[in-house]
Assembly symmetry: D2
Homo-oligomer: 157 residues x 4
């Protein structure tokens, strides 16, 4: 993205992109934040050869990464605090074949402590979009999460 | 892995490793199949800098990738047919901090058409293992899956 | 429902109601099919005292029942074959307080072998509707399901 | 249960049974707490005719109720505070045919704010037990939950 193009970018989206750029794994995988609103986002990537599995489709892990990260952006912008994904569920419904993937997520219910978010992942190619995965998850305030509290007491391991 | 070491590897595990080596995304992420049985597997990786998020933990997408792929191996070796992950759910319970991650998965219930599998992901470092994610998913025979059937009719998109 | 009212009911909805009436548990819980389309439904019930938990809200099991059954109707009418729920996930987002509950479900992706469906459950009272749960699940053709195949081979129990 | 029998019951289990007895829906459905430990429980019921669906199996909603409530007991006894189920996922793997159902749940990871619990539901009949469902969910401290906070702000409805 050139400096000229950046000048046209909404400051909120620009902030989201700066956060994404600080995640080495998101950089490795080539994720691009295409849109960001309060409680919504579109996160995409190009299906490059190294993101594929043996049959030529984008690997399920790539689809999951996109869904997970898009859910987090939707929840974080809805709650306006630092957040992490606590849990999510994903149904893969079609092979991820095409030139690009885009995950579109939204916060469906927001409370003080969490946001329940939903997301669809589409494969884009040959001028059409095909739904390839559907996800639902819980995004929580960072301090409230077992995940963000390394010193948490725990049992049953 | 040297040729000498490979000579000692169980043929079933060697076959699983050859399949993993055909997945470009698994190669990119550095996944290593540590153990493989009928209905069980251990899939690990080194937490390299490029697999992290901004706070220095392994990215959730890396943890999800491991869980998803380990569930698939557990289900595939239980069903003994080509399979795909149909859906799964994951709870992240602790930041993925350490030198390595390992996902241990098993097929909990197996029928002709599907296997329901469960998986724990552990972060390994400083001589200890810490549980960092818990997953449960459905692995299906490849031909039965919407995911493996690009020509499926669909609605509601 | 009087005979006069029944005469006005859409035949498709009437068929759905006859199926519901054959489920003793749905009768016990007082479920009513309010609307039924191809790939969609609205399933409701009155929050009677026996459906509550100790704090006066409808029990989570009642909310789950409604979501599960609504997902099945949405998937079954989309696939047009006998179906069962294979799996689902539900997030409870608010106490189910009010006079009635209604679950509104739709088939989001339909293939030959399964439908991935989504559902919201609302609590209705004092003239307003409040979202109290969000669900996503997989509905499968009856013969394809482990659940409908008592003779399935199994492992890991 | 007679007064004589009650005298032999572990006080912790007796306390759990008193809580169950305050839930009208649990009474309606005939749930019985069979065992209760710190972070574990067994919750059962007799498959009476009114708990069935049209094909003679216990209704999925009954299986879900058992899993959900068992997860809550496992999480509550692990966390030792009032709790609610925030979310869970269930895979049905076999028709619930038999005389009784029993859900056995345990807390797999416990932190200050939540417990991630797992549960299997078995159908018991003719002297054998058959696995019929597998669940995983998040149990949260009552005050931290969107579900227990009717006044929560919300969006996207």
């Amino acid at each position: 993205m050139s400096a000229e193009a950046a000048a046209d970018v909404d400051p909120f989206l620009a902030m989201g992109r700066r956060i994404l750029a600080t995640q080495p794994f998101s950089v490795l995988i080539g994720a691009e934040l295409e849109a960001l609103g309060q409680g919504s986002c579109a996160l995409g990537l190009a299906i490059t050869p190294e993101l594929k599995q043996q049959n030529g489709f984008a690997h399920g892990g790539v689809v999951s990464y996109l869904a997970d990260n898009a859910l987090t952006y939707a929840g974080g912008t809805a709650m306006k605090v630092p957040v992490v994904t606590s849990e999510y569920k994903i149904n893969y419904v079609r092979p991820a074949i095409g030139e690009r993937l885009v995950a579109r997520a939204r916060a469906t219910h927001v409370s003080r402590s969490q946001a329940v978010c939903q997301c669809e992942v589409y494969a884009i190619g040959a001028g059409s979009e095909k739904l390839c995965a559907i996800a639902q998850g819980t995004i929580v305030r960072m301090g409230d999460s077992a995940r963000s509290a390394p010193a948490s007491k725990e049992g049953g391991e």
